[in-house]
Amino acid sequence: MAYLLIFAIANGLVSGMAIFLVAAGLTIIFGLLKVLNFAHGAFFMVGAYLSYSILASLAGDPPSLAAYLLAALGSGLALGSIGLVVDKLVLSRLRGVDEAYMLVATFALLMAVSGIVTLIWGRTYYSVQAPESLAGAVEIGSFVIPTFSLFIVGVGLAIFVTLDLVMQRSWMGKILQSVASDPWMIRLLGFKVTAIFAIAVFVAFFLAGVAGGLLVSNQSVSPQLGDSYLMRAFIAVIIGGLGRIRGAFAASLLLGLLESLSAVVIPNLPGLSIYVAMILILIAQPHGLAAGRAAPDEEIRSENTLRTDSVGRTTAIGGILFAILMATPLWAGQGVLFVVGIAITQALLALSWNLLFGTAGVVAFGHAAYYAIGAYGVGYLIRDVPDIGFIPSLFGVTIIGAIFAALVGRLLIGRTSGIYFAIATLAICQVCYIVIGYIPALGRDDGLASIPRPVLNLIVTRLDLTSSSAYFWFMTIVAAIVVGLLWCFTAGKYGRILRSIRQDSKRASFSGVDVRRHERLAFILSGAVATVAGGLSAPWTQIVTPEIANVAHTTAPVLSALLGGAGSFWGPVVGAGAFSAIAYATRSFAGLSELLTGGILLVIVLLLPTGLLGLSRSNRIIGPKGRALKPACAQ
């Protein structure tokens, strides 16, 4: 055991250094451009593929050390150049907008880049042998330390020291930090801010390419490579304190150690430790290890407040939508009906998310956890404990979801905020995702299959919902009731208080509003609605798998709300419908779904930053001069 613990500590440093190689570019992008680049992992992956192609076509097998390093350098230069194009087309348009919009746009970019990688390199995995001089091991007594591990530690340290020296000690670093802090002043002093931004982008993408090249023989190269590193690099950047190189370095090593040690100390719970650690760190140090407890000055406040329409207009839109949905089983085929049913649950989930974002200004990324509680809870009860009945099951599970939301709200709201709060909720969702996979009663990763559709016992009669049409109508009616209640909430007294908190929480507090209590209340309501959405979905899909709580699904309500327009009550509904329509329309383009969905989403987010409903209400999200949100540096 002692041998394994010592080895785990040594290997944790190696693993942490590999995480830092990816995190370095990510933290530079945020530190200087204030853009959280979800696509960074995809560009790291492109770097690895480029390096693989260079080595496969130009070098021997195994390659020489010089060829290996040159290939990494070549990947870095290529990625740096790609980065300038990406910045021009995408990133420069995101500076100063809500964190949520940044994440949506860069998430779309991630999908599009992943799709392009699959088109170019296919779906095969590749393996690159390390140079012969790095392929061996150093043996110290009974300890075996792979030479390649020492190489990773060496290059990681070299990159960290270089970046730290440049940023802290050099003239260039000080200029870069000044631009990040006050671009207006720097421009006034005669510096070319645009060129300085371009240098920062080039360096960040160069680092992604170099990291891909240096780590190409550390593991296999596959279309999943970017995802594997992205989440850990993201966590390192967050708990290290956004934009702080030293913080990212320390956090990367910490994560590496945690992962490695947990494989020895708690081998039966793989994958859980880093998310639990992240939650605990953010509770103790709400803005990252390097930031202390004070909120950073640069916290971005959303300007995208939910407006409430008149009762007549809302009722008219809701009525038309309800009528269309109720008529759907009369004309739609089985496939279309199923997709529309899924869209209803996704629309409810997106509405629940937008209750927080659009009304209270709180960005959360963990709503899939409540959806999963609903789906698993109802699925389990109606399949394995049918005597309870469907309606009591749905009610009971909704209360559990609300209690869970209350606990999470109690734990996080007031302690942490902004993107740190969002990522903490994402970590909680990941914990749920992993824990579900541990529970045999929930079918572990196989999920709950063969969930029956219910027959309601209404004392005087029985309502058979086993057919698709009957359950669809039931689901539509329940969804309509929930949507109506949500609208009453957002348009009523509580909604107005939440909007005042969103506009200016300090002024609201001075006016006597208990800010935290109201934010927590909104969080509970939002969690309960997400739970209902999940609860309704279980008998509809008739199978529930852990994927409903993973990262892809937890971004779905965010994407739907922003695609449709978070400034409008009906925006999330339109977004969820649009997503379902895109997915259904592209079903025949098998294998191209990532590229098509990512591309379409990116175009919409960039052209219509106020969402699809922003087309008709272009003044919904406006900047200081009546234009759509512009980069902060341009203001």
Binding site: F7, N11, P146, L337, D446
Partner: protein, 414 residues
């Protein structure tokens, strides 16, 4: 003309019209393709296998149509990308069934099989699964509308255990490296059961706790060190996808292959050696749905292998091309036999029946629709040629020697 006479005339006219139109309708039916839906992961982590499946499915259509179709009717496949996700598989099952495509091929993974299985009766469709290995498919979650064309965990794992005992009798301490998923735990349970059953009573194996990993892991060195420190002499491996390749890539400096005398693998088949090339560990046995080399004396198997070679220039064919190929050929034989393509007739034609496939005759067990035929495993070792690995041995057992008793709706009693 009396009313009766008028009605008679109308009936007679209708009959005449119908009679005149009949040959045209019949001709249309003959020319209207028999559509078969194929669900496979063409994006996401499972897409590596989806690519192979698509090749096999399209080749089956080409072969059947070149031979005149099914009773003169051409075959057409409708492909959907289920992304390896249960909800997508359910969506497309409903969509295809709703548009009249009720003969389905799919279920590469357990979840993408279990999802559609729950609704097959509801949408009046039939599914032949092409990769899902969970025992639940023909036990706890049995559906009369679902037919499994591959081995289940019980058969495949006991097959591998039998090889382990027969070929590596000196190895008595068995460990495992596997992703922490239900399928892995279930497979390891059946593997160790097999080891105990096939080992002589005076030489029972020592089973060591498995070393667990997760999908998406990129660093396995701590797990490798734990394996090196354990007494294991042979391992069961279920680390499919890119993780398996990373594991062996990182294991090289530890000289893992000097310690571990045999690796019994399920899940990745040739994907792992194809990626690892010369780094492929020796004595690497993997369960295979179809090893082409064992069936070159079978005309259908040889045709599939030859056409794959002609199209790709690759002398090694993945077994994942065979399962959708065989499934479509089975549908064609079932429809040809009955002359009907509705769900009930096709199910009746398949239940308990035997069909020709590239791996010889295959029977669907009457009680639970489980395939009865051969189970195969191949041994792969590193080689000095350009490919970096070679298939050096294989085993072909009739799976009726390994299969469990049928108990549809009930879990296997161990």
């Amino acid at each position: 003309m009396t009313p009766i006479a008028r009605r008679t005339l109308i009936k007679a006219s209708a009959a005449l019209v119908a009679t005149a139109a009949a040959p045209r309708v019949f001709a249309q039916a003959a020319n209207t393709p028999l559509r078969i839906g194929v669900l496979m992961p063409l994006s996401g982590p499972g897409s590596y296998y989806g690519k192979e499946m698509r090749f096999g499915a399209e080749l089956a259509v080409k072969h059947i149509n070149a031979a005149g179709g099914v009773n003169g009717q051409p075959i057409e496949i409708v492909i959907r990308d289920d992304k390896g996700v249960a909800n997508d598989a359910v969506t497309y099952t409903r969509e295809l069934a709703g548009s009249g495509v009720s003969l389905l091929v799919g279920g590469l993974f357990t979840t993408t099989a279990l999802g559609p299985m729950g609704i097959l009766k509801d949408v009046n469709a039939v599914l032949i699964t092409t990769g899902a290995i969970s025992d639940a498919i023909n036990h706890q979650n049995y559906s009369p509308n679902c037919f499994r064309l591959t081995d289940n965990n019980y058969i495949a794992m006991r097959g591998l255990a039998r090889i382990a005992v027969e070929r590596y009798s000196k190895i008595t301490k068995w460990g495992a490296v596997m992703t922490d998923v239900e399928a892995s735990h279930d497979a390891f349970k059946k593997f160790t059961l097999g080891l105990k059953q096939f080992s002589p009573s005076d030489k029972q194996p020592t089973i060591i706790d498995p070393i667990l990993t997760r999908f998406g892991d990129t660093d396995f060195r701590t797990q490798i060190a734990a394996l090196m420190a354990s007494p294991a002499e042979g391992i069961f491996l279920n680390q499919p996808g890119e993780g398996g390749a990373s594991f062996f890539q990182q294991a090289r400096p530890f000289a893992l292959s000097r310690k571990i005398g045999a690796i019994m693998e399920i899940g990745s088949e040739l994907a792992l050696p194809t990626t690892l090339k010369k780094n492929t560990p020796p004595n690497f046995w993997t369960h295979s749905h179809w090893y082409y080399g064992a069936y070159l004396d079978n005309p259908m198997g040889k045709q599939l292998y030859d056409d794959h070679f002609a199209a790709t220039g690759d002398k090694i064919a993945s077994s994942f091309i065979e399962t959708p190929y065989a499934a479509i050929r089975i549908y064609a034989q079932a429809v040809a036999k009955t002359g009907k393509s509705d769900t009930a007739s096709v199910i009746d034609a398949m239940r308990g029946a035997t069909f020709d496939t590239p791996k010889g005759p295959v029977t669907f067990r009457k009680e639970d629709n489980q395939k009865i035929g051969d189970t195969t495993a191949i041994r792969v070792d590193p080689s000095d040629d350009e490919r970096g690995f070679a298939i050096t041995d294989y085993v072909k057992y009739p799976n009726k020697d390994l299969i469990e008793p049928p108990s549809p709706g009930q879990a296997i009693k161990l």
